[in-house]
Subunit: 190 residues, 2 copies
């Protein structure tokens, strides 16, 4: 079983978003990718069997606006106590999970079959997953921007709680702008 892959774009100085929720442009490369990045995206689409995401990553509105073009035609499990009021009629099936990240992962694993459960954020979901030991692989897209401030990759992580995790690099894909790093996440080596 491939397991749970946390996949996020991150600025060179370690932030996954601006503090004020404005777009820092960390996914600009995604929409017009160089060949090397296109291969990474295609692989992600091919190997993803289900998606887990936070309410903010889903969208702040009351419908699934902006999702119609998504290439991931798999179940999306959205962590929220506040599902949108409108029903979803797009090509993607959204499941709103009110009872925590562990439950969302459990449901997503069932839906994913032999493929990955891919988690694209936000940072709070990433932190909860990491703290619960639920991340098997980590793929970071290193974007050559310095934000200077913002939302850290693992916002609010208990200091030291990540320090025990052992990461083993499994791949580096160099692309003209962004650099794609992939790691296997294991328990503490000591």
């Amino acid at each position: 079983m491939p397991g749970v892959l946390l996949d996020m774009a991150i600025s060179l100085d370690g932030f996954v978003g601006n503090s004020d929720s404005t777009d820092p442009g960390l996914y600009d490369w995604y929409f017009d990718p160089p060949a090397q990045s296109k291969a990474v995206i295609d692989e992600l689409v091919d190997t993803t069997g289900a998606i887990v995401l936070g309410r903010g990553a889903f969208g702040t509105g009351e419908d699934a606006e902006g999702w119609d073009d998504s290439p991931y035609h798999v179940k999306h499990f959205v962590l929220t106590h506040r599902p949108p009021a409108k029903s979803m009629n797009g090509p993607i099936e959204f499941v709103f999970v009110p009872d925590g990240v562990q439950r969302a992962i459990e449901l997503a694993r069932e839906a994913a079959g032999e493929k990955y459960v891919t988690v694209g954020g936000g940072a709070d979901v990433a932190r909860q997953l990491l703290a619960a030991g639920l991340v098997d692989e980590l793929q970071l897209h290193i974007v050559p921007k310095l934000l200077g401030a913002g939302v850290p990759l693992f916002a609010g992580l208990e200091p030291g709680s990540a320090a025990g995790l052992s990461l083993t690099k499994t791949r580096v894909v160099d692309s003209p702008v962004v650099t794609h790093l992939r790691y296997r996440v294991g328990a503490s080596a000591g």
Copy 2:
């Protein structure tokens, strides 16, 4: 003229040190480097004409303990109002600069000749250099550790002040553990 190179090791989540000044092990690879990392280190030694560093990076003690084995036999300009009490008798000439980062860079540029002024930190020196527009290139050694908290790469940088800088990736060296990324730093693209 090669200019000023900021060269630092950084955790995967964007920290260059622990908050409590204990060693997070970000330079472990440096002391027993794989061949690819050895080449990066050798290049750095060969191309460095002078070094600028903060008082903390120099050491907290009253002598130059630990510097005798340094392969960088060039002038080291240490930013400090508090030079060590003992005179320095090791193989490296230390110059203690009390009047700011701009002056330290000016002196180091003179000393470096046709080679780089290399700056290895700390984070406060990195921030001051970046804010003053004095960094020409950035080399980051991405270490597969998650610290969860600590000293960010550009600790105390005015929010947004780095956002305008344009970074152009010039090289990626993949090594079994660490990944070496190098960028050219330019003024804002817009």
